[in-house]
Symmetry: C2
Subunit: 340 residues, 2 copies
């Protein structure tokens, strides 16, 4: 049974694992370095819908359908759906699961949502559930007009900005499934070191990422050398460099095994995305489409994924507030049994 | 250990219960029929803050402080915080828990959030946690300007509208605590029967409430006569009447033991709230301040609380979408042991 160790970490005892996962993206994601890893690429970012918001719901539907298809389960086999997105009132998720007849637990963790959903699904599958669907999405066009400017305005993007991925990722988490096995979950605390530039969200999220990662290492008596890959959600170029610095101050040094989903999904030079990618769909699609299959095949053994979220809103920024961040961590492994 | 029975219901096996709870409100809530049951009433709806959004964060802080004070625990004793609100990007909760150094799981379930938070906290306390904080809030002024019109505009309210409660409720859910004991949780599905009038949210949420309640009765082989009180979140006058009708069609008749938090918190005649109250803070404060103490004292024995949420956003309504609803149910009891 799931149990807590140390200050924040939950050990998942049973053989809880990922039955299957799927990633959906659009044109820009398909042209990026991970293009081949997406299950579905739709060149039209409207996905056949009339609005970008509806397109985002469609992406969640496509991702979940594809994930279910891959493991041979149907929506009716799912006990619970854990999902969220960036839109006001999380409408991409709510409309995406409407009429699915599966209990829905709506989440808001900004870009940390994919790990938040996976973490809750893992705890549930280690007790009250057999199968859970965990998913998250984001859309460049719906996010830009909601958080910044209408696209038609053509505002310039500062060098520290990140490009919201038009992507969705879904995973079926199950009891007695895997590889990939889910070994532990570490939900993060809300940290705020005073960044108030909403075009520099990587920096705003980094203290939360560092706090969660350091606490996880302390709770499990492990360090970076115990993992093949340590992945943050979307700190981007500025935030990632900061994380390396902050972790070094805590005595934790990476040995070429650290990367950031926000730096993997696009080619920063060729695709003009400034500091990299962001959005719930970034880590959701990179993990679902690229990382989990490599754990399944055994190419990667022990992997930490930490999705990171900036919890501000345009209103809070206008009211002079700084930007709090949160980061949730999932520890995956290709092998059964206790790894701690 | 928490386990699922039937199609949707999770039985909480251990002695998981409510260690304490607290309710915070403002002037209008203090003048209502339940005014005496609030732990804190602040006549100034800004709660000493510069904006209504910050006031809402303050209300969550006050509610959690008061709840902790009542059971003698500190914030550091909490394993996890489950919280949410109605504001874009759920800023009332995120800023309310900033710097608290407790892992935060952010939720969006519209007005169903209090039951969603309590349900997750209960499942966690039946496995991976000892103490969790569950809370939710809403604020009339922040909600009106976000969902409808700026207050200064002075728009007329149609007769089917509901008044967003300026209130917050918090509960400390613990392993080996109670009464009140938490016996079962039933997370709901997203239902949409085509209502598109955002001034008639009670009607939009009712199909979801009926679906969850009927499923819970089927899963547990119980019926309305097994409960002293069955309480919906905020269906209001129109939605409550509809629920009675829908449940009767399913063969379930209430015997004077059904009520709605939205009809309890204000005096509809004297306080000019049209169809009653709404908002996450409505069921959060009515349950935390009024219902749980009465279960604790034994005045009420078996109680079902079902918070109900309308999952639309102004954007989805403007884009011609109908309004999906969701309802999550918590089964409380004053007595230990299996009640099913």
């Amino acid at each position: 049974m799931a149990h807590k160790i140390g200050k924040q970490t939950i050990i998942i005892d049973g053989d809880v694992g990922v039955s299957s996962s799927a990633a959906v993206g659009s044109k820009k994601e398909g042209e990026g370095p991970l293009g081949e890893d997406f299950d579905i690429i739709n060149e039209d970012s409207r996905f056949g819908e009339k609005t970008w918001e509806k397109a985002e719901s469609k992406m969640q539907e496509l991702a979940s359908q594809k994930a279910l298809e891959k493991c041979g389960f149907s929506m009716a086999d799912m006990d619970f759906i854990f999902a969220g997105d960036l839109l006001n009132q999380c409408i991409a998720s709510a409309y995406g699961v409407r009429g699915k007849k599966v209990p829905y637990i709506g989440l808001y963790g900004a870009c940390s949502t994919y790990a938040e959903a996976t973490g809750l699904a893992s705890v549930f599958c280690d007790s009250a559930a057999k199968h859970c669907l965990a998913m998250a999405s984001s859309h460049f066009c719906s996010a830009e007009r909601q958080y910044r400017f209408p696209l038609e305005y053509g505002g310039q993007r500062p060098p520290s900005s990140q490009w919201t991925a038009t992507a969705a990722g879904a995973a079926v988490i199950s009891k007695e499934a895997g590889p990939p096995y889910i070994k532990a979950v570490c939900f993060g605390t809300v940290e705020d070191l005073g960044i108030n530039d909403q075009n520099n969200m990587g920096a705003a999220m980094t203290p939360a990422a560092a706090a969660t990662l350091a606490q996880f290492f302390k709770d499990t008596y492990t360090d970076p050398s115990d993992y093949d890959l340590i992945l943050t959600g979307d700190l981007g170029y500025v935030g990632s460099a900061l994380l390396v610095e902050l972790m070094a101050k805590e005595g934790y040094n990476f040995h070429g095994n650290y990367n950031d989903c926000g730096l993997m999904i696009y080619d920063r030079e060729k695709q003009q995305v400034e500091c990299g990618a962001s959005g719930c769909g970034c880590s959701a699609s990179v993990v679902s489409g690229h990382v989990l299959p490599r754990i399944k095949s055994g190419e990667l053994k022990n992997v930490l994924v930490m999705s990171t979220g900036a919890l501000m809103s345009p209103t809070s920024v206008q009211q002079g507030e700084t930007i709090p961040g949160v980061a949730h961590l999932i520890c995956y492994s290709s092998e059964k049994g206790n790894i701690f």
